[in-house]
């Protein structure tokens, strides 16, 4: 629901807010530019308006009006030889600095900003957009807090695709500025349409009588003497040779008329409080008088165009991933019920796989959001609940009312239930909501079909395993093959292979694939753009490979980036493994069907902090990719474990080259089948002092390899950093400990 409050105004407003924010950013520079120009602001109490007027009179006998901008620029309007002019003047001398010519570009931008050049209808649109901005800033903040697990977690690193991170990181940085801009703009717009009071600018009584004496010199007028220059807004002179005319003076405090003979106030009216509030809000919005705030708000509004583009892209992708269910039976006709708790629709994809698989076996399946839990399913024999967790153990959008509905059910149906949770182990409350649902069902006395199972990071393999368990429980052969991103495969040709490890019963191959030539030379354009015929990917991303006669892709971590011109993976041969057997038997020139699954979280973070790379066996794949691309020579430390230096020391010559050219700072290779046998976690414990020093320097740790190795490394690492008062969970929360585990 909250998400709709964010998406809907965002989609409608996107185009308009781009215009408003870009023009706003341009206008925000004006106060700073004025400030950076030749503005001299004398201290309060130094120069009175009378003194200034006296000096101005020396240089401008035909002065009509003196105006002071909120930042202190003084403008003198004068008539000379029947022609009117305006100059910026120095407040200390009254001398001209330069002719004053307001920028017509600025005026145009200002009109575009406040009325889209459409006058009142445009102002109405701009006002609505200001409100939309407020709604977007607030709903965005709430979404972000929910996503990160609470307001206190608001500064935690964000995960997601590049587009998502751009949207979230920029939004987070600019949130307060945009809220301020939106609120102040809404108020200003409301005053334009008379919906909010702007107060009354001092409107002094127009004096009917003047003393009528001979005009006194302007620098002797007592009311002007009593007014400090820094309070001046505008002084308008009487029309020349009109003894019945008078000075009108407006200041920060009020306005009035001054007798040109006596120099006394003829009338005076202070500004009312509402008007002072209006002026304060006007200043907050424009930065006129507060140039640094203007710059901050301008920078904040520059993020809006990016968010206005990334936002709809995110929305579109979410729409695309919404499932289209075929043959969805009614709740009372179905024998199998699937309830889905999903925030971003990914869980729906898994639900559909289950739905289709059951339907293919002749089951009548009803799939619905968890919020649609019914009080009874007449023909149902089993219930599946597939749910993600939102933020810190909260219910995702389509399950927000599930627990309340469950609570209200008076009698528990005889319907065995299997709960499957989806989540990311790197978050502290992994599958928290699924566990809560499981507990609530148990408390209600629901029979269990299967105990709670969990899927980490949308793992298709784990889902297939759960499918096997379901098959046994319901005595129906199900094959749950789920691919989070529909494989849109590319044919690749094996260009080169290097084999290791045959002597230590760990046959491992480094395979380098290329895009097959289309018989012709790559076009000039493609060469100029660096196109290699490969889909775009970075080291650390995953490649899904479909072995012949199989629909289940196997995923391998990539050791190269597409810009290298090859797709490189490191594959260990598992006896009986379909894909690894296929790859190990593949001759040079043989082809595979492959697609890329981005894994943006597993790569070195930007910056200069040291990087500690830890892996074993084929886990070196992405790590060697990171080292290879370490052209900036940041400090990189590799801990890697193999079996025997003679047989399976993967990439040995390359690693030595990288040591020499400083792409790799330190190489720690340990082997388990030698006389002083050691595992990688042992080496980590030995190097505790050095590792602590690196962590203190802000090092990031990237671990790649098998599940058992990763667990041992994590345990060893916890001990290493305990003296620092930290643990791996803290590092994970900070985004400094990342794993690619299989």
């Amino acid at each position: 629901m909250l998400r709709q409050f964010h998406s809907l105004p965002g989609l409608i407003a996107a185009l308009f807010v781009i215009v408003l924010s870009v023009t706003g950013a341009i206008l925000s520079l004006n106060p700073a530019l004025e400030r950076a120009g030749s503005v001299v602001v004398p201290a309060t109490g130094q120069i009175s308006v009378a003194e200034l007027a006296g000096k101005v009179a020396e240089h401008y006998p035909g002065v009509n009006q003196i105006e002071r901008t909120p930042l202190g620029t003084l403008i003198v309007y004068y008539t000379r030889d029947g022609q009117m002019g305006a100059d910026r003047v120095d407040p200390r001398t009254g001398q001209s600095i330069a002719a004053y010519e307001p920028s017509s570009f600025s005026a145009w931008v200002k009109n575009l900003h406040r009325s889209l050049l459409l006058d009142m209808p445009g102002r109405a649109v701009a006002g609505i957009m200001a409100l939309a901005m407020v709604v977007l800033a607030i709903s965005g903040a709430l979404l972000l807090a929910a996503r990160l697990g609470g307001w206190r977690q608001l500064l935690r690193p964000v995960r997601g695709t590049l587009i998502q991170r751009l949207h979230i990181e920029l939004g987070r940085a600019a949130m307060l500025g945009l809220l301020l801009s939106g609120l102040t703009a809404s108020y200003l717009s409301a005053t334009t349409f008379g919906l909010a009071p702007e107060g009354v600018a001092a409107e002094p009584e127009f004096p009917m009588e003047v003393s009528g004496g001979p005009p006194a010199a302007v620098d002797t007028l007592s009311a002007l003497k009593a007014t400090d220059l820094n309070d001046l807004r505008e002084l308008v002179y009487p029309y020349p040779n009109d003894p019945t005319d008078m000075y009108s003076l407006s200041t920060d405090q009020g306005a009035g008329y001054i007798d040109q003979a006596s120099g006394e106030w003829l009338s005076y009216q202070p500004h009312d409080a509402t008007h002072r509030l209006y002026e304060f809000i006007y200043m907050l919005h424009t930065g006129e008088g507060l140039w640094w705030l203007g710059v901050i708000l301008g920078l904040a509004s520059l993020t809006v165009p990016v968010m206005a583009v990334t936002g709809p892209i995110i929305w579109w992708k979410r729409q695309q991933s919404k499932p289209k269910l075929a043959a969805n039976s009614g709740p009372n006709a179905a024998d199998s019920i699937i309830l889905v708790g999903s925030e971003g629709n990914t869980t729906w994809g898994f639900a559909r796989t289950l739905h289709d698989s059951l339907a293919r076996k002749g089951h009548r399946v009803h799939t619905a959001p968890m919020n649609q839990l019914a009080s009874g399913y007449r023909g149902a024999k089993r219930l599946f609940i597939l749910t993600a967790t939102y933020g810190d153990g909260d219910a995702p959008a389509s399950a927000s009312r599930f627990l309340a509905r469950l609570e209200k059910m008076s009698n528990t149906p005889d319907l065995p239930v299997a709960v499957l949770g989806f989540g990311d182990r790197q978050f502290p409350r992994f599958c928290g909501f699924a566990k809560e649902v499981e507990a609530a069902l148990a408390a209600k006395g629901w029979p269990q079909l299967l105990p709670l199972d969990t899927i980490n990071q949308q793992s298709p393999q784990a889902f297939t395993r759960w499918g096997d368990a379901v098959s046994k429980a319901i005595s129906t052969e199900l094959t749950l093959i789920h691919t989070p991103t529909r494989p849109h495969t590319t044919t690749l040709k094996l260009g080169e292979r290097v084999d290791y490890g045959a002597d230590v019963q760990a046959p491992t191959a480094v395979l380098r694939f290329r895009a097959p030539e289309n018989g012709s030379q790559p076009s000039l354009l493609n060469r100029l753009l660096g196109r290699t015929g490969l889909p775009p990917f970075e080291a650390g991303d995953l490649v899904g490979i479909l072995p012949p006669d199989s629909h289940v892709p196997r995923f391998y971590s990539l050791a190269s980036a597409s810009k290298d011109g090859t797709l490189e993976i490191c594959v260990r041969h598992h006896p009986g493994g379909l894909c690894s057997s296929f790859l190990h038997a593949l001759p040079v020139g043989g082809t595979i069907e492959a697609f890329i699954q981005p894994n943006p979280d597993f790569r070195p973070a930007a910056g200069k902090a040291p990087v500690v790379l830890i892996g074993a066996g084929t886990g070196i794949g992405p790590l060697i990719g990171f080292i290879r691309h370490n052209k900036a020579h940041r400090s990189m430390h590799l801990y890697w474990g193999g079996r025997s230096p003679q047989s399976d020391f993967l990439y040995e010559p390359e690693l030595n080259t990288y040591m020499e050219d400083k792409r790799l700072t330190e190489l720690n290779a340990v082997f388990s089948r030698v006389s002083d046998s050691a595992y990688v976690q042992d080496k980590i414990s030995v190097d505790a002092v050095q590792l602590r020093r690196l962590i203190e320097k802000g090092a990031q740790i990237l671990v790649c390899g098998g599940r058992d190795m990763a667990a041992s490394v994590m345990a060893a690492m916890d001990e290493v950093i305990a003296p620092l008062g930290m643990d791996v969970a803290t590092l994970k929360a900070q985004g400094r400990y990342r794993e690619d585990v299989y």
Binding site: N64, Q65, Y77, T79, G82, Q83, M84, A86, P102, S104, A107, N111, A201, E203, F206, V236, Y239, D242, D245, S248
Partner: protein
């Protein structure tokens, strides 16, 4: 371009207490603005009597009354009373554009020391009191008068 037909005589008569209104003539006022490259100009066209005192409003260009105080000569004379300009106001006039008004004026107003004055104001730019001062005479009809501020030229004809 504004094309207006207003029987101004009654309003003015009240203001300047003319004894009779036997005759009136249709007068067209044309005010051309310079290319000053700013927002639309607010303008006040009004009459002053032989003593230079405000006598009545011909037209106010500009829709927001909160800015009328910048038309200083007129604001002072009229006291910005709504009754002075009720039904006699319209949109502001853009840079380089012109305003044409057609009004019925009593014959007694001609050659009697009355002057047409134009005050102008533009957002973020200076205010011009008495941008144009043109005596209202039979002889002066059709003769353009230059403005000192945003007005390029002003003339009236009948």
């Amino acid at each position: 371009m504004k094309k207006l037909n207003l029987a101004l005589a009654l309003g003015l008569a009240a203001a300047i207490t003319l004894p009779a209104l036997a005759q009136a003539r249709e007068v067209t006022f044309t005010t051309e603005l310079k290319e000053y490259r700013g927002d639309g100009a607010y303008m006040a066209l009004y009459l002053t009597d032989a003593n230079g005192q405000y006598a009545g409003t011909l037209w106010i260009a500009g829709e927001k009354s909160k800015y009328y105080k910048h038309l200083r000569g007129w604001a002072r004379g009229s006291g910005q009373r709504r009754s002075e300009y009720d039904g006699l106001s319209g949109a502001s006039v853009g840079s380089g554009r012109s305003l044409t008004l057609t009004l019925d004026l009593a014959d007694e107003l001609f050659d009697a020391g009355y002057e047409v004055r134009v005050d102008t104001a533009v957002e973020d730019r200076r205010d011009n009191r008495y941008d144009v001062v043109a005596p209202l005479t039979t002889e002066g009809a059709g003769k353009p008068v230059s403005g000192r501020g945003y007005v390029q030229s002003f003339r009236y004809a009948f």
